[in-house]
Subunit: 371 residues, 2 copies
């Protein structure tokens, strides 16, 4: 798990009332910014991160030393450019990179919240970030943008605050979690909670880490981020540093070795209770639910221009779901564009080198800026 690190953060001036009815007392929000806010405030872009992402969008990650998760999209000369934009990304509440989450001290006890951290929703995450905008004096945004869970937040933001962003870009995402989406998350949660080192959720105080359970959860989820064709292209049935089968349970195949590595490196940077809380928020996500099941009602009055992007090999949040969202947006009278991009890499395509996505985001933002 992550060591204490001086993340840039702010304590919200007011308590946060959650969808569960519980109160999060003046939560801390960790965030990063790039670029300068224009005098009229009109160049601000709020980026939302995905399940295991964080606020380190472009700069190297302080724990892993790796480039920021969207360094291909955000940076000098990139579509989201600090020379032109004021770029803000906050760690979601429930996270473990400085924002109030299960590893943070519970103000009522001084000990980690752990399993007592409230179960939150995507809307709760978004309200916390809107409060951050207020605290930073940022009014109407140029754009809100996110992929995967970040896309859910972008759509939720547009629903909660129909006038607060001029553009919404939602990539490889969904307006609700499907039964299959929930099922995969449930496997991960059960793996974590079955690990004796989870200690009923109080592993931090016990000085332990449910590494094995969290690694299995990550491995299962990781398969859903890739496509069958992408896995075949990258690994096929190739053996890992051997010429013949071992007739044992070591990682004979490259794909096994890769998955194990994914599991182990994840454990070093992520809190198991954050994984429980954030997956739960995603499973609870159904933008239409508070509107009697009408997704277009969720977007009523939206003034933004929307761009929905899906990938043809993404089976986690497939193209059909993006089309459903666009249909609802159009029915709500919103300006909505939709593009399906082709890639063999499945859901994770938006995090990889995707020149078409870069061109699309660039063109869309410039058009909104010029409007």
């Amino acid at each position: 798990m992550n060591q204490p690190f001086p993340h840039r953060s702010l304590r919200l001036p007011a308590d946060l009332r959650l969808d569960s009815g519980r109160i999060l007392p003046r939560p801390t929000i960790a965030y990063e910014t790039l670029g300068a806010l224009a005098p009229d405030g009109g160049n601000a872009i709020l980026l939302f991160h995905a399940l295991t992402g964080d606020q380190y969008v472009a700069r190297d990650h302080p724990l892993t030393g790796k480039p920021g998760w969207w360094a291909r999209m955000v940076g000098e000369g990139r579509p989201i450019d600090p020379a032109r934009h004021f770029i803000l990304c906050a760690n979601v509440i429930g996270g473990c990179m400085g924002s109030e989450g299960p590893a943070s001290p519970n103000p009522a006890t001084g000990r980690p919240w752990a399993i007592d951290f409230p179960v939150i929703t995507i809307a709760d995450m978004v309200r916390a970030q809107a409060a951050l905008l207020d605290s930073l004096g940022i009014g109407r945004l140029l754009a809100v943008i996110g992929g995967s869970m970040g896309g859910m937040q972008a759509l939720q933001f547009a629903s909660l605050y129909p006038d607060r962003a001029r553009a919404v870009i939602a990539i490889a995402t969904a307006a609700r979690h499907s039964a299959q989406n929930i099922a995969f998350h449930e496997v991960g949660r059960q793996a974590i909670m079955a690990d004796p080192d989870w200690c009923g959720g109080r592993f931090l105080e016990a000085g332990r880490t449910p590494s094995a359970g969290l690694a299995v959860a990550r491995m299962a989820a990781h398969i859903t981020y890739l496509s069958e064709a992408g896995l075949t292209e990258r690994f096929g049935r190739r053996l890992q540093e051997r010429d013949t089968l071992s007739f044992g349970f070591d990682a004979d195949f490259q794909v096994e070795s890769y998955l194990r590595h994914q599991g182990m490196s994840f454990v070093r940077r992520f809190d198991a209770n954050s994984y429980l809380v954030i997956t739960r928020a995603m499973d609870y996500f159904d933008l239409a639910e508070p509107h009697q099941g009408s997704l277009s009602a969720a977007f009523r009055g939206a003034s933004a221009r929307f761009a929905l992007v899906s990938y043809d090999s993404d089976w986690l949040y497939p193209t059909s779901e993006s089309k459903r969202i666009v249909q609802a947006l159009v029915a709500a009278g919103a300006h909505a564009s939709f593009v399906e991009l082709s890639s063999p890499h499945g859901h994770d395509s938006f995090l990889l080198d995707s020149p078409e996505l870069n061109r699309l985001v660039d063109g869309f933002l410039r058009a909104v800026e010029a409007a």
Copy 2:
């Protein structure tokens, strides 16, 4: 885990030489039969079971009390009919329903084989069943038939013994495990081996059961047996015996409750080391590999008539893989038919009510019998 139960079984008269080079000393094979062998022996059908199946094809399962796994296909008046056929199904070696497996006593020590049970292959399973046929005095079969891992065995049987069956029916199966197939199995194995109650594989002697790990493995695998559309149709986002979200980690959604039930009931009937051994055999399966990568070479000289059946919603062993097999069969000069059936239920469709499959198997067998 299963209690001792007097499975019908036979100890092979000779040792079994395995693909790993190891020897399984005179293994026990548990099997069930239905119907009577015709005087000319020409009405015998060998059925192969899938990963978590067993020899109880049609009669009620002795542990669960549930109907046999293919009672819809096998029985009086069904396509595979004891009034007309002599029907044989054996538990695979490595299994846990009476055939030699990790829970069986290791003759060298008298204690359970446990993790010392050899890692086997699909071909090893098939050779053991051919030896069973020899012991029972059964020569050329009318047909070998199986779905999923049973289909792999049917194809492997045709490759090893090109003259020993007049018909081969392989349903919802593959001639090799893909990277994605391996990846899902690896998640399950890691979940089992991460469970402290696995005890380094020696849980039986320790009087423990890695229930949590085995349940997680089953849950992850079970998702792959169903389709996204099937899960949506059956469960959607419906809540389990409640009207509102719990804002906790209980099974809020029906799909969670269903998966947990699948996990728990599996643990009561299956041995965790058998799960490791059999998934490994499936991952090792690549029918073309011993033939310099040529799948058609694997079928050279095959005299049987083949029927390959896939389901359009099966993403575990998709239609494209059945088509690849048929192409190789035709290239090898074999008689091969292929049918893709439509079903919303994914890979498990062949185990469910599937009238088209019944008609197809019935017609195909009658044609071969009449030939």
